[in-house]
Symmetry: C2
Subunit: 182 residues, 2 copies
C-alpha cells in the first residue's frame, strides 16, 4: 500500500528564542488537509554518544546532574557536534574531554532521533574500543563523575530503573546486540 | 565510593516561552563549585507510549510526519498526559483516539527520560494486549496512518535504519525482552 502523503509544508518561520543553550523556532505550516497550523520546536546541532568499552568488558560511564529533571543520571559520555565537525571527531573530542580516554578503534553503530515531537536532534552512537587513559579536559563549570560499570551491572541498572536516560538505554541495548552479551 | 554532590540549585526562574506547544524556562542556578550559570529547558507534562499487541503477535503502529525533522516516522502510538490524568488512562485514551483500538489487558513496562539535557519529559511505556477494534477519534488536523507490522519486521526496520524514533526503539527492545522474541 502506498503511504498517504502526510507532509506539512512551511509557510513562514520565526525564531522565538536564540538563547545561550536553546534555539527555539515557531513555523506556520500547511497541513495535508490544507488547513494552517503552528509548530514550535528546538533547533539542535546534533550529538554523539560514545560507548567506551574497556579490555575487561566493562564500560566507562558518567554520573551527571541534569537540571531539567533535578536529578543525577547515569549516562554514557556524549556531547554536541560543533559547527562543521564530523560526528566521529565529536566522539573523539568528547570522550577525551569528559573522561580522559582516547580509543584506537571506533565503530559507528547507528543514529536515532530522541525527541521527534519538538526537536530536530539526531544522536550518532559509536562504540569505542582499545582505550588509553590520559587526562580529561573538563571546563571549570562542568561537573561530572566518571566511573566504570560491568556490562551486566549496567543492564541490571536499566531493568531496575536506575538507568532511565533514553540515549543510554538505546546504546546499552545496541551494545548488547552487537557484542552478543546476555 | 560515595558519589560527589553534583546538585545544581535554583537561584531564580523565568518563563521564556509559553507557546501553543512549548513551555520554555530559563533558570539561574548555583553550580557545585559555587559559580552561577544558566539552564534553559522545556517543561513537558509527560507522555505515554503504548505497544499494541495483536493476537497474531503483530504490532499496531503509526506513520506520522514530524515537522522538526521534515520526515515521516514509524512510531508506536503515544501522547501527552492531560493535567491530573493517570498515565494508564492516558494510554487508554490515546490508543483509542489514534488507532480505534481498546485493550483488555494493560501492563506497565517502564518509564524513561528521552531528552535529559533540555526537557523534563518522562515517557511511560505500556504493553496493551487483547485488542478490540472500534473507531478512532482523530482531530480534523491530526494526520497519521495506522498499519500493522510483524514483530520481526519492526526489529528489521530498526536494524536497517527505517525506525529511528528513540521512544519506539526503546519500546521495541523492551517488548523483545518481555515477550522473549528473537
Amino acid at each position: 500500500m502506498k503511504p498517504f502523503d502526510l507532509t506539512e509544508t512551511c509557510v513562514s518561520s520565526e525564531t522565538l528564542i536564540q538563547g545561550n543553550l536553546l534555539h527555539v523556532k515557531r513555523d506556520s505550516v500547511r497541513l495535508p488537509n490544507g488547513n494552517l497550523s503552528q509548530r514550535e520546536y528546538v533547533m539542535h546541532p546534533g550529538a554523539v554518544l560514545i560507548i567506551p568499552l574497556l579490555p575487561d568488558g566493562s564500560l566507562v560511564m558518567e554520573r551527571q546532574f541534569r537540571y531539567p529533571l533535578h536529578q543525577t543520571f547515569i549516562e554514557f559520555p556524549a556531547g554536541k557536534i560543533d559547527a562543521g565537525e564530523d560526528p566521529l571527531e565529536t566522539g573523539k573530542r568528547e570522550l577525551l574531554e569528559e573522561t580522559g580516554y582516547t580509543a584506537n578503534n571506533w565503530q559507528f553503530l547507528t543514529l536515532f532521533h530522541p525527541c521527534i515531537g519538538y526537536s530536530n536532534e539526531v544522536i550518532h552512537i559509536f562504540l569505542a574500543h582499545d582505550l588509553t587513559l590520559g587526562i580529561s579536559k573538563l571546563d571549570e563549570d562542568e561537573h561530572l563523575e566518571i566511573f566504570t560499570m560491568r556490562f551486566s551491572e549496567a543492564m541490571e541498572a536499566m531493568s531496575s530503573g536506575n538507568i532511565t536516560d533514553g540515549k543510554t538505554m538505546i546504546a546499552l541495548f545496541l551494545a548488547q546486540k552487537y557484542l552478543g552479551k546476555k
